[in-house]
Amino acid sequence: MRIIVALKPTYDVSQLKFDSEGVPLLDTCPVTLGEADKCALEEALKVKESLGATVVAVTVGQSEAHIKGIKDALAMGADEGYIIKIKNAWNISSITVANAIARFAVVTGPYDIVFTGSGAGDTHSSIIGPMVSALLGYRLVANADKVEVKEQKAKAKCTMEDGTYNYEVQFPAVITVTSEANEPRIPTLKAILRSKNMQVKEIGPEQLDLSVEEYKDIKVIKHMVERKRVIMEASDQKSAEESVIKLLTFLKDEGVI
């Protein structure tokens, strides 16, 4: 079996700060592979262990973070790792990213499964997996919380707004995996030492016949929600009672209770 895992290093938004003008301080924000991406890789590695498969990790971008992401994937157990050399990877359109992954799959394929995370931690559009499925003509299972892979097909449990969907899909398929799907393995020393001599391979957009579309003039600033921010202190029983009385009065005045 051959499996691709598409990974995206993302900003850890819980640590993202802004300057006084509301400009995000991206340079000092830590960048890592997201939880869902690691779960996607873990699913691929589980298949490698149970059924035997070649796992190829790929990312769209050429920054330090992208290279490290692929190296981490190799240390976790991926057989091969590639970066698709595109500058300003965080500023390109979703369709470019999806096309890059799809063309890569065609050029280096064929593949039985494309695993991706269900959504990136920073831009959370969650559309790349579905786009890749449409571009490749592969079947699609999206937002899988649980995946079971057999020789020719996969079963997956997905949670949506209205309930649970249990899918069974034949290969080739794109499966997007949520961060609930498993607990990604932490690379052991032996795995790290084994991956020491593995190279991160590079592939350029020309080799993929890919035209890169960058967003022009994206302006990103802090999202200020107008809120009243009336904060009360309740450090003891007395002040707790007083704050609760005030709060309930405010809410009545607002007309929400």
């Binding site: 932490i186 052991t188 032996k190 790290i192």
Partner: protein, 411 residues
Amino acid sequence: MNYEFSEEEKRFRESVEEFCKRYIEPRWVEIDEKGHIPLDLIKRLGEQGLFAIPVPEKYGGMGGNMTLAAIAVEEIAYHDPAVAVAVYTLLQNGWPLALSIFGSEAAKQEILPKVASGDAFFGIGSTEPQGGSDVAGIKTVAKRSGNKWVINGEKAYISGVREMSELPEGGGYFLVSKTEKAEWGHKNITDFVLLPKWHGKMSEKVKPTVYDEIGRHGISTGGFKIEDFEVDDEFRIGEINKGFYYVMEGFNIARVLVAAATIGSARWALDKGTEWIRERKLFQGKPIASFQGVNFRFAELYAELEAAKYFVYRAAWMVDNTYLTNSPRFKPRDLDVPVALAKMKGPETATRIYEEVLKWLGAYGYTKESNVYRGWLGTFSYTIGAEGSQNIMRYVIAREVIGKEYVSHTG
């Protein structure tokens, strides 16, 4: 000199950090409070490959080295400042390495894979009720009887006594014993692998007791009486009467990791302290970090911690270049001073850092809620001694640098 860790070393440190954040950080306070490292955590540490790091793969080890072991122990201590888990881990790295250097093929094959997997414990059994630093003065005796040895004696202040009896396989010690007669001296000591519990069965000839300590509660300290315990000659470690020298080399190995644990815990304390002095505001909104009395002291402690860190990794590098390389650059005796420096500086720097951080925290630091006192008590145990008392470290440095003819144990 290369002052940077290699990419693999950095990646390994990250993987240990990830492991600690997931499995140790959420539980370290409970481990210290309840006085118990859960067996499932020990198994996980084994499964993650954090035991027997420097032991060759053919004995079930990770085929790594002491630098990697020190990285693992340091990071674990950062996430378990009370150091119980870090100490458990360092023992499962240092003494298995010593066994893999000095032990018989049979003993290594029998014991090491089970230690690596987290099913068995292996530690050091040297200290006795009447003395620890005075190894030449031990009284436990091993008498030869055909192809066995019969051992009688008592050990005290030994780590892991309870863990050994709780783990499914069991475990034991690198035991230091007198050959035939208990006379003071360096040339009549033989070492053995003593397994009070093995294959799940506890021997009746070894009677352990566990002490109630003031800190580092997660890992047990205790003692045991040995009554006519029979050990196969193939579990003798090395040559008869050379045991003193083997255990001294073993102590050198373990001491590096002890120092690594103390600097990991101290780094946690200093990080906590840094956060606190930035946030704590007094005298009309001034952060206490802006007071020179505080920030000058911070700078001094930061410098000491950095220095202690370099001692640790330099000593680890030297151990690697003595035992774990095809072309050794150093002899075992060359390790005495570098290791003593690390083991002297590490715990003492940690103690000084904890004292100062507790002062910055003020009355809050004195409360159990702050948890900082747990690291203070944990690292302080290594200022008292363990794998080598602080005064013995001074003795070693003085003896080696000034000269043996000027410096004696007792003078």
